[in-house]
Symmetry: C2
Amino acid sequence: MKNIDVLVIGGGPAGIISSSTAKAVNPEKSVGMVREEPNFMIPCAIPYTFGTLLPDTEKDMISSDVLRGAGVDVIVDKIEKVDLEEKIAYRKNESIKFEKLVFATGSLPNIPKIGGVDAEGVFEIEKYKREVDKFNSYLNGVESKNVVIVGSGFIGVEVAGELVQTGRNVYLVGSSNRVLKPAFDAPFSEKIEEELHKLNVNIMNSTRVEEIITEDGKVKGVKLNSGETIETETVILSIGYHPNSELAKASGVRTGVKGGIWVDEYMRTSVEDVFAVGDCAEKKNFLTRDLSNVMLASTATAEARIAGSSLYNLRYVKGFTGTVATFSTVVGNLCFSSVGITESEAQKEKIDFVTGEFEIINRHPAVLPGATKQKIKLVAMKRTGAVIGGQVVGGVESGELVNLIGLMVENKMTIYSIINLQFATHPLLTASPLAYPVVKSAEMIAKKIDSCFI
Amino acid sequence: MKNIDVLVIGGGPAGIISSSTAKAVNPEKSVGMVREEPNFMIPCAIPYTFGTLLPDTEKDMISSDVLRGAGVDVIVDKIEKVDLEEKIAYRKNESIKFEKLVFATGSLPNIPKIGGVDAEGVFEIEKYKREVDKFNSYLNGVESKNVVIVGSGFIGVEVAGELVQTGRNVYLVGSSNRVLKPAFDAPFSEKIEEELHKLNVNIMNSTRVEEIITEDGKVKGVKLNSGETIETETVILSIGYHPNSELAKASGVRTGVKGGIWVDEYMRTSVEDVFAVGDCAEKKNFLTRDLSNVMLASTATAEARIAGSSLYNLRYVKGFTGTVATFSTVVGNLCFSSVGITESEAQKEKIDFVTGEFEIINRHPAVLPGATKQKIKLVAMKRTGAVIGGQVVGGVESGELVNLIGLMVENKMTIYSIINLQFATHPLLTASPLAYPVVKSAEMIAKKIDSCFI
């Protein structure tokens, strides 16, 4: 039997960061991570391996040597059972005795309950190189140029935008009335759809796939709820993921109604010395306290840093208590980012909110290189002005601009403090200091709140 | 005599924002702004009118019609005297009776005490179109390709980078041992110098111009403290600016040792109903409380928003109490940003500090388009871990990344809360979630602080 002080099960972003943080914080402890593939695929970049940017999946890999260099023992294997009382994890031929255990087992794709999902030609976006390579080689072999993507969330949208650039006819079929609905309000979804249209993606909103049509166990098409059928040999399912928590559940830790492993603010599970981080751990929305389906590498790594540094003692007061769901994507020539609560969500959740938005060019004057329209929308609580959400569309700066808004959300900052802030501006990098959109949006909210007091 | 409830003297960023905010907050009041030129030149983009990006200065103008549309009376004139007891401002032919007055008179270039500064061919970078046009037309007329820029601060650096691209031989002469010393630590200054070298700018650090050599009142060259002379017909002085506070001083408001108009946290001067904002108002460093020479449009607009909304009553608790000196610049192919205290400054000011830095590619994987090395350095207080400064070099995202760090500085956030934060990452927009540089720098600081406790 092998002895490893800190054992991490799972080798995605959550596993990598919890094991490397554990080793950095406790250099005297041995830290091991068990993963199924020898090296790590950058999950968020998988859509680009289907397009023109990363045709070689090797380029999307991070070697385990980086982790080994940090002192983490990387074991390529699968844990089949965990005994939490004896503190032993069982591999096929060997067992590992541990002091602390971290579940970082990730998530599994949701499969719709329709006919034909098991046919050859139906794929989910999985995070293993072998699966990605299998998909790419299948796609190179088929005759039909048609690809049907089921689900218009961010993986569906990104994969559609990439596949269409390799000459495929892409059908993006979503049951929502607009793409990326959970993260964006309608005007932003519309801009995303405009960009997808320019790329020649066929968007089919408010549409359900009722059945995958097969012949000899192979995909031949899909039948839609409209009665229409689309001929295709390739169907991609991207209707979300669910926590991969079977191993944990079988070991006796508590899981929630959505299948996530229950954790407290320090990522401790219901069993002492056992932690869970990333997609397999239960998530709550920072504001509504509802269970959240949002699974992001950024959330996973934040959780992993907390778990990794809280294994043997608590070092910091835990700063946040729920996911703010912050992410960015690129569609066509525009970048879209979102954090926190959207206006649609605020309405649905009966939050007393007020919004402000502002659009301007992201350079000043607007004739400078890189100039793109930049639009920011903030959502705030009506009484306090606390910022609870933001959406951005613009150039590449959107990726960090949303982190600026995310910081406001996580810190419960109000629009009144934002109005006072000093922001760096530069002609070639940002909007004008005269009309910096974060400030202008905050001012618009202040004005709306003012009008309630008259 | 004309009656204007709120009179703003000065039409730069501070004047524009204080007058437009005053009108937005007090729509029932008349608001007027007096400026010397009919329209407004975007000051931060002036260097680009000397290069290839904005050769036509018209493209760098904002029409006063925007302000008029917001209900501000724009008066093109000069105020020659202000009587604060009677509340009357005197123009050449007319006088204006006001209730509230805002000084937004900006700054004037510093002139070194050396011979020859009055000669034809010596220029300062002024913020009026007429002055910029005069310089550009002079430059087109001279025979010598040599241009000597005195002062290696950010205006000197930006003007050098632009002029050299129009085929000039540019000498950047600075008394500091490296460029942009107040904003950056040595390794960042070195990278800036590397970029300037690639553009063929001649950098002459630790060098002083002792005399401007003239003939018939025209520039013929400069004499350096090394004894060397440089032949040139064009000298640009960019050794900083000082508050343009003469009008205010003559009217009786208190000014400080550096000439700035004394103001409190709401930008109120020593005289009731009189405010001052922007470069003409005294600035204090947010941490050291020393008087600060930093003059930025972003600070000016933040002050103007506070003054404009505090004229008749206080509406918000003032959030910040000093300049954090946040700015960005572009040199060659890299973007550089800075906020707060540098390591050099922390040493000089005897601050108990600790630093962390991290370098990575700003895309993941690193082969994606737009990939550039990104380096972040954070400076924090040793005991609390409060972030007091940050520096960034990288791609265009640096412009908003520094605002993220600025928000941490202004909010007195500690590195422990940063480690807990959720940051959005995307392959095409940011560094990897596994090694997001702001978090990695914070972790490095945490580790250094930890080592003090052993």
